[in-house]
Each structure stands twice: as C-alpha cells, then as structure tokens.
C-alpha cells in the first residue's frame, strides 16, 4: 500500500487549519474551555476542547448553511480546509469519493429531535432535526456543498472509526474507483455526552491530561474534525508522505507485531482503562509521543494523531510532546526537536475492548 496524503484540514480546540495546529504543536499547550454539564450533584462545569466553525463562512455562503447543524459544519469545514490545503481545483471534485468517520454522530441534533417529541408529542416531531440526525447527514451536506458525486460512505466504530474509514478510502483508490478520496473524522460535544462522561469518569482533571501516566484517569473531552485528501501515488511527491499500512486486530488473538525500536504516535488520551493496554504492549525500546493534551479525547482522535504525523513528515521532525505527555520514566519519549529519520510513524490506538488499529505514515525517504 502506498497512498499519497495531499491535503490536511483540521478544526478543534486548538483552532482551525494546519497552521493553527502547527503553532499549537510548537507552543506545546492548548487550554480547554468549560462547558456546563448536569452532574451528579446538580449543574456544574467540565473542561472540554470546543471547536469554532465560523471560518466556514470563508468557503460556503451563509445562506447555504442555514439548516446545517454544528456537526455537519465541523465536517464541512474540515473538508474545505483539506481541499484548500491540497490546492485541488473545484473541477476535480466530481471524481472524488467521500468517507466520514464518527464515533457518536450528530448527538446535539439527535437530542434536539427528541426534545420536539417530548415537548409537544409525536405528531410534532421536527423533520429538519430528524433528517439532520441521520448518521450520514454530514456526508450528505459535504457532498452537496462541495459537489462531490463519487461514492459516499459514513462509518461508525467508536475509537476504531477512523482506521476503518481509512481502510475503505485506500481500498477505493487501489480499486481505481476514484481519483481521490476526501476522508475524515468528526465528533461533537453535547451536554448529554458531558453528563455521561461525568457518570463514567467523574469530574474532569484539574491539572490537564496526563496520557502517559497509565494509572490515572485524566482525559478531557474534545470535539472537532480532521480531514485528509488521499490520492494514488502519482505525480509530485506529497509533502505529507504516504499511508503505507493500515492494520486492525484484537489483542485476544495475540499482541502487536512491532519492531523493538518503532516510532509510535500513541492515541493514549488519558483514559485509564485503555492506558493499561499501551503499558502492556509497547515494545521496550519504542520511541513514543502523544499529543492528545492539545485536542482532547474524542472517538475520532486517531484522525488528529494522523494529522500530527503528517505535519511531522512535512516538517522533517518530531514535535516535542506537550507538557503532561512527556512524563513516564519507563518510556522512551521522543526528545525535543528530534529530527525525523527514515523511520515510519505508526499511529497506534487501542479501543475499549482490546481492539486496536495502527496506521503507518512514511515520508519519501522512509520507503
């Protein structure tokens, strides 16, 4: 497999676009906002990395966005930014496929639909909320707004959604169904998620995410979108390198087959239950980094991990992990200003049941 990564579009708590993400990576810090949440002891607040979609107006007329909800706006903005980054002419868009990954879908709109039923009865259910709550509504809006008429797919596999989407995107390219695929992950925060989060994990951490402190629950919820334009390996070499492998599996069928000194970008995001799997299965000499303190914990987090890997390949160096992700005496954490050699970057994510996925990105010199 050798799929060229030609554009990256990101929006999250750190800002909007690859320049904002790069600046945040260099600065090594990003502060979450606070969101109100109905907690176990009445209304309260919790830290959340929230995303602002106002820049979408630079790409799409406001009139066309009237009935487009926050979830679909996140997806549309991520998609527009990836196409802009790739400098793809609008005329080529008809030959694109679209694959969107999401863990939970358009939760705000789903609950808004239920509000109309619970407030006013079954006969007053909102058709607008209903149609926008359907799982593939974001893909539909992106297709309509950007005139993408190739195959369209939405997948939902919780933390494994993004690797699953990438597998299909690469498959379409290898089958030559399409000339390019716009593929991305999107998830949004909503108050019900916040409530559930607190019931599952308790109040948010007071000192920020500590993803490599395996015994500590320190995850901070996030929302956002990260999109990529993928193409076959044709034409100019891509700045962001290539996807050279996508591996999915389950630990009950054996551990990971990894080089002892692999360079791993971990999807560890402060969830204690998943952290023990990283602790148990990382090779002793692996060099590791994680950047989740900059964008938070969300099911499509692997898309943000991959965006960081792509920016690293373009920059030719590994960004220093942010404070909070640099402390674990048992790990070889990549040092500050580490030059990226020919080693591929493997983005590794464990799910809640022991499933895992690893997406490998390689620069031109590493193949």
């Amino acid at each position: 497999m050798r799929i060229a990564l030609r554009g990256v579009g990101v929006v999250g708590g750190f800002g909007c676009g690859v320049d904002d993400l790069r600046r945040t990576l260099i600065a090594g810090r990003c502060s979450p906002q606070t969101a109100s949440v109905a907690g176990t002891e009445g209304a309260g607040e919790m830290p959340v990395f929230l995303a602002d979609t106002s820049r979408l107006a630079a790409f799409i007329p406001n009139r066309a966005l009237r009935r487009v909800d926050h979830f679909s706006r996140l997806a549309a903005l991520g998609a527009c930014l990836a196409l802009e980054d790739a400098r793809l002419p609008p005329t080529v868009r008809q030959a694109l496929g679209l694959v969107i990954a999401t863990g939970y879908g358009a939760t705000r709109t789903t609950f808004s639909f239920l509000d109309t039923v619970l407030d006013h009865g079954d006969a007053c259910a909102s058709p607008t909320f209903f149609s926008n709550s359907v799982s593939n509504a974001a893909a539909a809006h992106v297709s309509i707004l950007l005139k993408i008429t190739g195959p369209s797919l939405t997948v939902s596999q919780f933390e494994m959604s993004v690797p699953a989407a990438l597998l299909t995107a690469c498959q379409w390219l290898e089958e030559k169904r399409v000339e390019g695929v716009l593929v991305g992950g999107v998830d949004e925060y909503c108050a019900v998620l916040g409530y559930s989060w607190q019931r599952f994990f308790g109040p948010g951490p007071t000192t920020g995410t500590r993803p490599l402190e395996w015994g500590r629950q320190s995850a901070i919820a996030g929302e956002g979108a990260a999109f990529f334009l993928l193409c076959r390996d044709e034409g100019d070499p891509p700045d962001y390198g290539f996807i050279t492998d996508i591996r999915q599996g389950h630990l009950r069928h054996g551990g990971l087959d990894l080089a002892a000194d692999a360079l791993l970008l971990l999807g560890a995001d402060g969830h204690q239950a998943c952290a023990r799997r990283y602790a148990r299965h990382l090779p002793a000499d692996a060099r590791v980094a994680t950047y989740t303190p900059l964008y938070g914990s969300l099911p499509v987090g692997p898309a943000f991990d991959m965006a960081v890997a792509a920016l690293s390949i373009k920059a030719g160096r590994i960004f220093a992990p942010p404070p909070g992700a640099g402390e674990n005496p048992g790990l070889k954490i990549v040092p500050r200003h580490a030059r990226l050699d020919a080693t591929p970057i493997r983005c590794l994510k464990f799910g809640r049941e022991g499933e895992y996925a690893m997406v490998t990105l390689s620069g031109r010199g590493s193949i």
Partner: protein, 399 residues
C-alpha cells in the same frame, strides 16, 4: 473502475416482518402475504396509527434473557449471523488461521437516542447510564466480532438506507484485495419510536399497507430485521469443498449531491451506480435476469427508479419486496440482497406486493405476479437519505 473477481456467497441468514428465517420469508413473498399493523413495541400519540412490519415477539432472538447488555438491533444481527453461519457450513468455529472481517450496515444500531434515559436526563433525574453502556456494547459489527471471536477488519456502515448494500459491496472488496479470507456482511435495524416519528414527520409514510410503484402509492411502511451474507474467496470455498450459493460479481455506488432527503430528479447518482455495477461485473444489460428495486412506495423514489430502470435496463423485470417487509432502513439492502440470491437460485421472482394499478407517470412497472426468469446476473439496488445510491450485482452460484 475495473472488472472485479467474483466473491462467493456461501451462506445466508435473514429475518424480518416477512419471516424469522430466509425460507419463511420466501414463502411469504411468493404468496404475497402481508400483515402490517400499528406498532406493538412502543406507543405513539399520533392521531393516525401508521402500520409497520414488526418481528413478532414469539421469534427467539439471539441472547434473549442471557445478554441484557445488547440492543435489539444487535440481537437481530446476531440471529441472522447464526443462521448464515449454519447455512455456510461454518457454524460457530472458524479455523484460527483464517482472516475474517465483519462489515455491517445500520442506522438505529449506532444512534445514541435512548428515550427513557433522555426523558429522565431532561427532568434532572440524573439517570443511570446503563442505556449508554448498552449502546456502547451494541455496535453491530463489533457485537458479531465479539460473539464469534473474530479479529479481522470490523466496520459498521451508517449510510442510511443503502448501508446494507454498501456493507456487502465493501466486504467483497476486502476479500478481493486479500485483506480477508471471509467476511460476515449485511445489515440490521430495529423499529423504534424515533424513526417512526421521524418518517411520519417527513410526510412519506403511508397510513395503509404500502403500494410500491402503484399509481395510488402514498409512502412507505417501516419495518425491522437483519440479513447476513457469508462472503468467501473462491479459494477458501474450494478448499473446504462447499458450493457457492451465488457470487458477488459487481458493485457500484454514487452520490446525487443534490438534496438531504430527496433523490436527484434525473436519477444521476443511480445511473452512475448502475453503470459502475455493470462495468465491474463485466456484463451487459442483456445478462440481467431481474432487478430487486429499492421500491419504498414514496412518490419520488419510485418515480426515479422506474425512469432510470426503464432507460438503462429496458425490458428487465423488476419488483419491490417492501410490500411484504416494510422499509427496514439499513437492513433493507442486506435483506434484499439475500432475497436476490434466493430468487436467482429459484429462477423466479415474486409479485410486487401492493402493486395493482400502473402509474401513468412511470415508464415501467414492476412484476404483478410470480414469473420465471433467466439470465446470469441480478441486481439489488438501494437509494438512501443523503443521495446515496448503491447497486450490488449477484451472479448464479454452483448449486
């Protein structure tokens, strides 16, 4: 797009309002029996009782009473998987050296919308999170992988009403590209008040038994169900000397990019999907024995399908089975794929239940009675919310 290597279908499982297994469903379809009724599993304050096709409570679903952490959609898909594995000769045990993937379509099965939980949440009652845990435990593809101890690619497709068709097309691709030796592919969806209210709010629901392609059609009836196809490489099937019931010969999909809920008036996406399906199967329209149409019974869907089929596949018989199953949403494509394979085997197609009066606005009408068919391949097609169109091509098997 290029010619696709055929992928074998070695087993099928199916349940819906027409029957609790594939054989029972076929019996219902060929006899044109249908008994949609107002929903029994949930209440509604609608002044009109819209009929639905529910699976009767006496049907024993997988894990009932033993696995309380699974949603009804997960139970439906596991029930269909159990039947399909038995039919394929694999039962529950795969050889450990086989790479088995799971690709399942759903809509309700991946939506966090538990009404009881949310009602309490709104009241400030601080509900317990068991319904959220059930939701997290019930991702259909993951539920199958967990229950049958599989570790290959696992993907839940949420492409609305074309999900089941897309899942089968994608799963076949995994085998062709060598990622998997076999794939459990299909779709599942349960009936619930959210979709019931939602479709009524869109004013595309018939308050009487639905009448796909009929001049007097008023909309769809919802249904529920699941279907699974066991897909295998021909090499795997040969090695265990098991016959193929059919082959996946081609797949095409395309997006209208036109409207969130309405199909493109010219059916542009469907035309491209059919063209791709034909091209990848390496066949011509003359080889098509029949088309299992999406045929929901809505004014728009049936008009577009009739026009496109009339233009691209003239004289090829088509029909809708939704008059006997209702619209099972993401399960529909999988259920109809299962039926398509069975009709290819039987070399006959059933009457389009609910169709009596041809619509003068439609250039082609569906089969009115059971008819014999000949031809090497058959289409099953799905149109969906968001402008998705998906077409799967099945070829005759070894039996």
């Amino acid at each position: 797009m290029s010619l696709q290597t055929p992928v074998a279908v070695s087993g099928i499982g199916c349940l819906c309002g027409a029957g609790s297994n594939l054989g029972a469903c076929l019996d219902t379809l060929f006899h044109g029996r249908r008994q949609p009724a107002p929903p029994a599993r949930f209440s509604s304050s609608h002044p009109t009782a819209y009929p639905v096709f529910e699976i009767p409570p006496e049907v024993s679903l997988f894990g009932t009473g033993q696995k309380p952490q699974l949603s009804r959609t997960a139970r439906l898909v596991l029930t269909a998987t159990r039947e399909a594995l038995g039919n394929s000769g694999w039962d529950r045990q795969w050889p450990h050296n086989k790479r088995i993937g799971v690709c399942i379509g759903t809509t309700v099965g991946s939506t966090m919308n538990d009404e009881g939980f949310y009602r309490k949440y709104r009241r400030g009652d601080q509900p317990c999170i068991n319904p959220i845990e059930t939701y997290l435990n019930s991702n259909p593809a993951q539920a199958i992988a967990r229950e049958f101890d599989l570790s290959g690619p696992c993907q839940t497709v949420v492409n609305a009403c074309s999900s089941g068709t897309d899942a089968i097309g994608l799963g076949a691709g995994w085998i062709r590209s060598g990622i998997c030796d076999a794939v459990i592919a299909g779709g599942a969806d349960e009936l619930c008040r959210v979709t019931y209210d939602g479709f009524i709010s869109l004013m595309i629901t018939d308050d009487s038994p639905c009448k796909p392609f009929d001049a007097t059609r008023k909309g769809l009836n919802l249904g529920e169900g699941a279907a699974i196809l066991i897909l295998e490489s021909q090499a795997t099937l040969r090695a265990r000397n098991h016959p193929a019931r059919a082959f996946v010969r081609g797949y095409g999909s395309a997006c209208d990019a036109y409207h969130l809920t309405a199909p493109d008036p010219q059916g542009q996406g469907l035309r491209r999907a059919i063209a791709e399906a034909l091209a990848t199967s390496g066949q011509t329209p003359a080889a098509v024995a029949f088309v299992n149409a999406h045929g929901t019974g809505t004014r728009d869907n049936d008009r577009i399908e009739s026009r496109v089929l009339s233009a691209l596949l003239p004289d090829v018989p088509f029909f809708s089975t939704k008059g006997c199953t209702g619209h099972t949403l993401a399960a529909a494509g999988a259920i109809e794929a299962a039926f398509t394979v069975a009709f290819l085997e039987a070399q006959k197609i059933p009457p389009s239940a609910g169709f009596t009066d041809p619509d003068p606005d439609l250039p082609a009408s569906p089969a009115k009675r059971t008819i014999g068919v000949s031809g090497q391949i058959a289409f099953s097609q799905s149109l969906a919310f968001g402008g998705n169109n998906a077409v799967i091509v099945f070829g005759k098997g070894d039996t």
